[in-house]
Structure formats: structure tokens, C-alpha cells
């Protein structure tokens, strides 16, 4: 469904190939370099020449509609899927050559964090610690520490199948951290969690920030906004836009959004004139009318009073807000 919608095409900065860049500069600051990555599933093109760099210690958010290719890009980076073409360099190592080394550098929380139901939480963590090659002597103390960290010490001896979604997610996160990886990849870590649990997990990710390089895929825009250093908007397997949340917000919309609800639906008759009148102000970037609400993007608040006057008192409510990433997202995928 989503695939059928025509999206505006954004211009790309010229992206140099790996070799070209090597000639120009050796960037030690990059932890993950995704280079011309393509992947198809049968006829579905999940990734289409994707390029993306992630710096050491950076928290990069990836947002995009369902089916954009977020999970696919992540799975390729984790060496779970093989790309049709392109490469990913993790700390300079290629996914085509150093799979085992790359895998041991990454802690991955999948979109569907299914765990072995029969296992007790502690056993599950020991099992994965052993698989990650955590030294035998360190496993127990490491697990103790992690259980403490995700606040699961009291349920350590219970089986996974007795856990609620939030508890499972906590075990999942502890599992991803069990080998103290340099890179963490979270695919929708707060999906389906209650606001309080989601908040806890966000705070947890915030604590990890700076120490680790983190990729966070999410559909929650406020989450991306508040946590991420940079956000990449992915669509149909390509990067549509990328930048700090602030950049994105100011780039696509004005700095301020004015919402005006009108009282009288008869206003419809003259609405064309109203829209025109508002567009006449130099600070107005965009006007949109849905039902009885005008959404006006402004560059500054200088003209607010005059704009309100246009409505001649026929107003139910007025409010202003800063644009959010959600506005950016919705605006990006508006037809």
C-alpha cells in the first residue's frame, strides 16, 4: 500500500565511493559505513543503493514508513542477511569478510525480540554470554550487573514464558548488552510498551549514549527527537533526508506552527480568500486547511497578531507550537 504512494524525491549530496573517500581522507571517526547497499526480496526492492555513515559514539535514529527497509538495513549490518550488492564497513571491517568479528561487536535487539520461552532469564543470559565468548569467570558477575541494570534481579529465576512484554523487552536488552558491545542496534525497542516502561527504556538508552555507537529504529517521533544525535528518514530503501532533529524540523517546516480553529463552518465560502490573505504575510511558509482547522507554518512570530485578525473574531481556539519530528514525518510523506 505504502509502496504505491508517490513520494517527493530529495536531492542527494554527492556520495563518494569507499575508495574515493579513502583517497581523500581516512575517517577514523566512522563506526559504520553503509555503502551502496541494495537488497531485493523477490520482486520487492527493500534497499535501493542505500548510503549512510554513523560516527563513533553517535546515536543515529532511523525513521520511515512501514516497509521502508529499516529492518533490512539493520539485519545486513548485523550480518544476518546478505546484500545483493554494496557493503557495510563496521569499524573498517567488511560484512563480506569479517562476519564473526563484526557480530561480536554488535548488540542487537530485533524488532521481534523473541526469546527462548523455556529458559529462565538468568540461564538465557548465560547461554548468550557463552555464545558471545564472554570469559567463563566473568559471566556470573556480568549477568548480575545487567539484571540489576534492567531491574530484573527479582525475576531472574523465572521462565521467559511467564513474562509480560515489557519484562521480555528488558531481558532482550540485557541480552543485547551481555558481551558489552561497542555498537548497539535497537529495532523499535519501545514498540507496544506502556508509556512508563517505554520511558524507562528510553532513559536507559540515553544513559548508554556517548559510550556506545547506537542505531535506533523507531516509529515514535518524540523518541527520535529527544534521543538521537542525527535522524535519517528512510523511504523505499533510500535515505530521503538526514540531519539533526533540529535541522530536519527547521528545514521542512517553519520554526513555529500556528493552529487556528474556526467557529463557523460557513467560513468555508470565503476560505479561498482567507488562505490567500494569510499567504500574503512574508513570515508565512505554508497554509493548510483540514476540517475547520488552519495549520500555518511561520518563520517567526512577528505577524501572528495580524494573521489572527484576518479571521475577524470567528475563532474557536488558537495555539502555537514548535514543529515536531512528527510534523516533519507527516509532511515528508504527504502527497
Amino acid at each position: 500500500m505504502v509502496d504505491k504512494i508517490k513520494y517527493p524525491q530529495y536531492k542527494f549530496e554527492t556520495i563518494l565511493s569507499r575508495n574515493q573517500r579513502r583517497h581523500l581522507e581516512v575517517d577514523d571517526n566512522l563506526m559504520i559505513e553503509i555503502e551502496s547497499l541494495s537488497k531485493s526480496f523477490g520482486k520487492i526492492k527493500a534497499l535501493d543503493n542505500l548510503n549512510l555513515d554513523i560516527k563513533k559514539g553517535e546515536l543515529l535514529g532511523i525513521i520511515g514508513p512501514n516497509g521502508a527497509g529499516k529492518t533490512t538495513a539493520i539485519r545486513i549490518t548485523c550480518c544476518i542477511l546478505k546484500p545483493d550488492s554494496g557493503d557495510v564497513l563496521v569499524d573498517g571491517m567488511s560484512i563480506h569478510q569479517e562476519q564473526i568479528k563484526i557480530k561480536s561487536m554488535i548488540g542487537y535487539l530485533p524488532e521481534e525480540p523473541n526469546l527462548y520461552e523455556r529458559f529462565k532469564a538468568r540461564d538465557l543470559l548465560s547461554y548468550f554470554a557463552e555464545l558471545y565468548g564472554v570469559p567463563k569467570g566473568e559471566i556470573d558477575s556480568r549477568i548480575e550487573e545487567l539484571l540489576e541494570l534492567v531491574n530484573m534481579s527479582h525475576r531472574a529465576e523465572d521462565r521467559i514464558n511467564t513474562f509480560s512484554k515489557g519484562l521480555r523487552q528488558r531481558v532482550g536488552i540485557a541480552r543485547a548488552l551481555v558481551h558489552d558491545p561497542q555498537i548497539l542496534i535497537f529495532d523499535e525497542p519501545t514498540m507496544g510498551l506502556d508509556p512508563a516502561t517505554a520511558h524507562n527504556i528510553r532513559e536507559f538508552i540515553r544513559e548508554l549514549k556517548g559510550d556506545k555507537t547506537i542505531i535506533l529504529c523507531t516509529h515514535y517521533m518524540d523518541e527520535a527527537d529527544s534521543l538521537c544525535d542525527r535522524v535519517a528518514i528512510l523511504n523505499q530503501g533510500r535515505i530521503m533526508d538526514m540531519g539533526t532533529p533540529q535541522d530536519l524540523k527547521s528545514k521542512i517546516r517553519g520554526d513555529l506552527i500556528l493552529n487556528i480553529k474556526v467557529e463557523n463552518p460557513c467560513w468555508d465560502v470565503v476560505k479561498g480568500d482567507v488562505v490567500k490573505a494569510i499567504e500574503g504575510f512574508s513570515t508565512v511558509e505554508d497554509v493548510e486547511l483540514v476540517d475547520n482547522q488552519y495549520t500555518i507554518s511561520l518563520k517567526s512570530k512577528n505577524d501572528i497578531k495580524d494573521i489572527i485578525n484576518v479571521f475577524e473574531g470567528n475563532i474557536l481556539s488558537v495555539n502555537t507550537k514548535e514543529p515536531t519530528l512528527e510534523d516533519v514525518f507527516i509532511n515528508s510523506f504527504k502527497q
Binding site: 539485519r75 544476518i80 542477511l81 547461554y127 558471545y132
Partner: protein, 395 residues
């Protein structure tokens, strides 16, 4: 060597599961039940020691003999065949009325003929409708052979009087007749191999379960090779089989079954488990879900049973060397007290190693492919072409 971690944890978690233990014990009970059915089939009355569940075969077949000199009937194995003496006419009446299964006619002038070193012609009449007729045929043939050997020995002795030792009629142990071997040795051997087929579901659950329950993704993200996953999981199942066969053999030994060289028999059964699980794990690696795997398993096991069972049948009929490729043949040979040259064991061993290498190689190759594990899964023919190098992936 990361696969040992997987094996260890799979085994640990499996043996902890109450559901598994219930099934495990149930399986042994069913095997035990089969033992009784098997024994009831071969009516057992073992004289001195009272009731024993070791099969005894007395009265298995009946034979009516017209043999005036009692020359022939003396050598017939009474444990196997109940012999009645009657004139030829009466014997034939018994045969026709079903009172006996076969009639042997030893000519009245046999003794004279023997003295003149003439051929005696023993005639055997068989009831073609009786499935046990071949037992009688074998026994009569054996007896004729023993008789011939005995006679020629005594004849040689009579020619060389300086040989003072009297002609002792040494009873030659020719073993049970072949069809009886099928019934006793083969059945027993099959009972020992049965546990190999009881744990297919365990490997299916362990491999297909990773796909169905979507736990495979984190396993694939581990810094280990696909081979570790496949071999680790398979060895856990081989371990469980080894445990069950050990318990099972223990029960058989305690209940009085004779298993010659039990350690060797045990090893033969266990090494067979490796390629059997290898075939199962191919099916599991390719299957999308339990249903598919279940269907695959049925076909796979029919094939395996064929490969295991046909060589012993060939061995029984013509003892050809190639029939030793099945470890079942070797076990049957051990059971029947055959003296087996050590190098013969290399044949099933080589076969087992070869099949294991091929099956695990295929399974690992399958499991390495993200399209097989995560979809969209390529068709079987396409996969075969790709494996054979006739087609390039994605091409």
C-alpha cells in the same frame, strides 16, 4: 568448537523439560510393550528356568517323516521342528489335512545305498500355503548336510582302522535357520535401532522452531558459524538418542536377551544416529514450518528405513560384502555369532561417515542462506541447480 556450547544448553534445557521426560519415558514403555508383543508372537516356554522372556522356538514347525532306519530324523533339530514318524501314506494324509507342514520321505534302501556309496534321494513335500515352510526347507537341507558329513567321516574312519578314536558324531552348530534369524535376530536388532527414529521431532523443534518462533534472528546474530548451530543442535539430539539406546539396551540385557558384544552393538547404533539426524536436519533446515517438516520427515524416514533394512535382507540371502554398508547388517551378524573380520566394520563406518558428511554439509549450506532461513525461500529445483553449480544465486 562453539557448537559444544549449543549442544550443552540444548541438552540441559531438554532434559529439564517435564514434557520431554514424559515423552522419553513413554517411548521406553512403548518399546517395552513391543517386546512383549514380540515375545507373545514367538510363544515362549523355556523349560528349566521357568518363565523367561527370551524367545524359544520349540514347536515352531512340524514335520512328518517316513524314515525306517531313523537315519535322518535323528539329526533334525528338535528345538525347532516337531517330528512325527508315520508311513508315507499317513504322512501325506496329515499334510493334506494340515496336521503337519511337511513330509520327508527317506527311501527304505538308504542304508544299503550308503554302504555302496550311492546317492540317496530324500524327498521333501511342502505345504506351499504355509509361510513357515522355508524354515522346514532349511532345516531339512541342514540335516541332510550334517548327515552327509557324518557319514563320510565314519566312512573315512572305517578305511583307516589305525585311527583308534571311534567315530564320534560331532554335532555341528549350523545356527538357526535363516527365516528364524529374521524373526529373532533381526527383530531384536530393529528394536535397538528404533530409538533413532523417535527423536526427529526434537531436531525439527530445535531448528524449525527457530524460524517459527522467530528466535533464529538472534541466533544468527551470534558470532558463531552456521555449522556450529547445525552441528550443535544435532549433537544434542544424538546425545538424547545415545541415552535412550543405553537405557533400552540395559533393559534388554536385564530381561535376559543375549546381546553379544553389547558395547560394539551400542556404538554401531549410535554412529547410525549421526547420519539419520543429518537427514532430519536437512529437512528441518529447509522447512518453513512444522507442518512441512512433518511431511518431509515421513518421506525421509521411509528412505532411511529402506537404506538400513535392505542391506541386511541382501546379506541374509547372499552374504555379499556390500550389504555390510548398513550398520544394521553388522548388528545382525554380531547377534548371530558371526565371526566378523575387523575390517568389515570399516564398511558401515565409511558409509556412515560419508552420508553424515554429505547431509551435514547440505544442512549447513542451507542454513547459511538467508533466503532459506528468512525467505522468500527458493524452490527445491532451483536450490538443487544452485548446489550443483548449474545456476548462480539471484541469477
Amino acid at each position: 568448537m562453539k557448537f559444544t556450547t549449543i549442544t550443552k544448553w540444548e541438552l540441559k534445557e531438554t532434559l529439564k523439560s517435564r514434557k520431554f521426560l514424559t515423552i522419553f519415558i513413554l517411548q521406553i514403555s512403548v518399546l517395552f510393550l513391543m517386546l512383549f508383543v514380540f515375545n507373545a508372537f514367538i510363544t515362549n516356554i523355556e523349560s528349566q528356568e521357568g518363565i523367561s522372556i527370551t524367545p524359544s522356538l520349540s514347536g515352531f514347525a512340524s514335520l512328518s517323516v517316513d524314515d525306517e532306519g531313523r537315519l535322518f530324523s535323528k539329526y533334525i533339530n528338535p528345538e525347532l521342528i516337531t517330528v512325527t514318524h508315520a508311513s508315507f501314506d499317513d504322512s501325506m494324509k496329515n499334510l493334506n489335512s494340515g496336521k503337519t507342514m511337511a513330509v520327508v520321505l527317506v527311501p527304505a534302501d538308504s542304508l544299503d545305498k550308503i554302504r555302496n556309496i550311492d546317492t540317496i534321494e530324500v524327498k521333501l513335500y511342502l505345504d506351499q500355503a504355509d509361510p513357515k515352510r522355508s524354515v522346514v526347507r532349511d532345516e531339512v537341507n541342514n540335516t541332510a548336510k550334517i548327515l552327509a558329513i557324518t557319514l563320510s567321516n565314519s566312512w573315512i574312519d572305517s578305511l583307516t582302522p589305525q585311527n583308534s578314536t571311534p567315530a564320534v558324531v560331532t554335532e555341528e552348530n549350523t545356527g538357526e535357520s535363516l527365516p528364524m534369524q529374521i524373526v529373532t535376530k533381526v527383530m531384536l536388532a530393529i528394536l535397538l535401532f528404533l530409538p533413532l527414529f523417535l527423536f526427529g521431532n526434537m531436531i525439527i523443534d530445535s531448528v524449525v522452531g527457530e524460524k517459527e518462533r522467530k528466535t533464529g534472528e538472534i541466533l544468527m546474530a551470534m558470532p558463531i558459524n552456521s555449522s556450529d548451530i547445525i552441528i550443535g543442535k544435532s549433537m544434542a539430539v544424538v546425545g538424547v538418542i545415545a541415552l535412550q539406546v543405553a537405557i533400552w539396551m540395559g533393559i534388554l540385557l536385564i530381561t535376559g536377551f543375549e546381546i553379544p558384544n553389547p558395547l560394539l552393538v551400542y556404538l554401531l547404533v549410535i554412529i547410525t544416529a549421526v547420519p539419520v539426524i543429518g537427514v532430519t536436519v536437512i529437512i528441518a533446515a529447509y522447512s518453513k514450518n512444522y507442518k512441512e517438516a512433518g511431511i518431509g520427515l515421513t518421506f525421509g524416514y521411509v528412505a532411511i528405513v529402506g537404506i538400513l533394512m535392505i542391506p541386511p535382507l541382501i546379506y541374509i540371502t547372499n552374504k555379499s560384502l556390500i550389504s555390510n554398508i548398513s550398520p544394521l547388517t553388522m548388528v545382525i551378524r554380531l547377534f548371530s555369532g558371526d565371526v566378523i573380520p575387523a575390517w568389515h566394520f570399516l564398511i558401515p563406518l565409511g558409509f556412515v561417515i560419508m552420508v553424515s558428511a554429505i547431509t551435514y554439509w547440505i544442512s549447513i549450506k542451507l542454513f547459511q542462506r538467508d533466503d532459506v532461513v528468512f525467505g522468500p525461500r527458493p524452490g527445491l529445483i532451483r536450490l538443487i541447480l544452485e548446489f550443483g553449480g548449474l545456476k548462480r544465486r539471484g541469477g
